[in-house]
Amino acid sequence: MSTLTQDVPVPSAKELAPVPRERRRRWTYYVLPIYSSGFFLYLLIPIAFMIVYSFNQSRSALPQVTFKWQGFTTQWYREWQGIPGLGDAFFLSIKLALLATVIAATLGTLLALALVRYSFRGKGATEQVMFTNIAAPEIVLGASLLGFYITLNLDRGFSTLLIAHVMFCIAYVTITVRARLSGFDPMLEQAAQDLGATPWVTFWKVTLPLIFPGILAGALLAFALSIDDFVTSNFVAGRTVTFPLWVYGAVKVGIPPQVFVFGTAIFMAGLVLAVLALVFQGRKRGAGAAAEE
């Protein structure tokens, strides 16, 4: 960009704006990077708090997170099972998120393929529905689904949670996979078929490997949305308790340090996966560039 602003001063029209001066830009050039660093620090504050305070000692009879620093301990990591119900809620959330991810990734990918490959009646309407689904406030999703269950007299529990989670994940998967598909050269599939591959083989050997990063990204997004969901779950859970619901219930009485241990675990797992995805993407791109040469 810097070269663009150093235009050769050619005399021109009357309302000619002054050529930007090189000298003035020197310090202003650093304003944005510095501001951005501060901004990213701000994003990290509560996360850092969670991680640091998962190592804070607690001297009260019922261990609680307190702001006062009482000394470093790994006690809560060793006693992660110490709070009745918390571990169960955590593993229920994991199970729910895994199931919801598998279902949403499969259905969402198929919908993305259908939207990109075929033109069918109601395609525009489908896109509208997907968009409304994403833009809708979560409380409307949750409240309307609860109204629906109540009207049908359906008992709330794990299955109603699963239905809800798949419902709010599908559109995200579809959009992510479709973004990947739109950069997809249809000639590759034709080439495979010209070389005698059946449609089935073409799908498994050509289409799927090419869109796999998109599916993976969509699935990761779905997993993250599901494991973190509070609002919708709160409406449709009945007596089932997921991890975020458990934490919410504990907020006003004081949360045990183990909550931060689980939170840190989820954060670290997400971070590792995201970094792997970045590296994987980078390598893919590098390999593709090498292949083209």
Binding site: L4, T5, D7, S12, L16, A17, P18, P20, L32, P33, S36, F40, L43, L44, I45, P46, I47, M50, V65, F67, L107, L110, L111, L113, A114, V129, M130, T132, N133, A135, A136, P137, I139, V140, A143, S144, L145, G147, F148, T151, M167, T174, I175, A224, I227, D228, F230, V231, N234, F235, F243, P244, V247, Y248, V259, G263, F267, L271, L278, G282
Partner: protein, 273 residues
């Protein structure tokens, strides 16, 4: 092929929305909870009158938080789109808050904003704030919490809009001797308007329905519509009133989308999701 997904969305998203609209004009027996369709439209003026303060407060909090996130995140997304080298890395950084559970994030702010917490407590110890000053349990804490929690919803559409600006247009403005300020205010900013609007919509509407921030960071005087809907649905079992309030939020969103389509043209807002 897309059938199963579409069916899932229709049955568990669209049908419930219709059910909710219908519930808002039903009358329910307070004991058996059995509801009948009575076309009792009076529910709407009733809830608006009864909760007008809460509704206004929700819009004020959500609007303030959305403006804050827009102003705060615009320079950063601009920097990522036009200057940063490792764009994917910084985009990931924008999403980092999402790696921590929403409820835990909000709880962390509860500790950070507490009267003796790191921010308020430190300022008090330095005598920069009076002893009786507090943020927690005020509207400011709720706005701060919403602004933090919904930030990625603002930043990503902004980034998409800025990233999509054709660099040749910028070059052209420089070639035509626009100053840096002029090419920003007259090229970049107008071209990012659809993204700004999308960011506003995608942040404001969910924020207006949020109740976690108000519950954890606010006091009893800072309740938002979400808190009322939640209480009415889950505790008071007043389904018609809760449905009417949710319907108001839904209509607000639909009006927003329609306004977008009307004023910003045929380019679908979906591109910004």
């Amino acid at each position: 092929m897309g059938g199963p997904a579409l069916l899932w969305l229709v049955v568990f998203f669209l049908v419930p929305l219709v059910t909710m609209l219908s519930l808002s004009v039903q009358t329910c027996d307070s004991v058996t909870l059995a509801c009948r369709l009575t076309w009792h439209f009076a529910e709407f003026p009733d809830v608006i009158r009864e909760f007008s303060d809460t509704i206004v407060r929700s819009f004020v909090y959500a609007g303030a938080a959305t403006l804050v996130t827009l102003v705060v995140s615009f320079p950063v997304t601009y920097w990522i789109a036009f200057r940063a080298k490792r764009k994917n890395f910084f985009l990931l950084m924008l999403l980092v808050p999402f790696f921590v559970s929403f409820v835990i994030r909000t709880t962390a702010w509860q500790f950070l904003l507490a009267d003796q917490g790191i921010i308020v407590g430190t300022l008090k110890n330095l005598h920069l704030l009076p002893e009786n000053f507090h943020i927690l349990a005020t509207g400011w804490a709720v706005i701060a919490g919403i602004a933090y929690n919904y930030l990625p919803f603002t930043a990503l559409p902004l980034y998409v809009a800025l990233e999509r600006i054709d660099r040749r247009v910028l070059e052209a403005s420089h070639d035509l001797y626009a100053t840096r300020r002029a090419s920003f205010t007259r090229v970049v900013l107008p071209l990012s308007v659809p993204g700004i609007f999308a960011a506003f919509l995608l942040t404001f509407v969910p924020a207006a329905g949020d109740y976690v921030n108000a519950f954890i960071l606010g006091g009893t005087n800072n309740r938002m519509i979400g808190n009322v809907i939640q209480t009415k649905f889950l505790e008071a079992a007043d389904y018609p009133a809760a449905s009417a309030l949710s319907a108001i939020l839904l209509v607000l969103m639909l009006v927003g989308i329609a306004a977008y389509a009307k004023f910003l043209g045929s380019r679908t807002i979906e591109e910004y999701v």
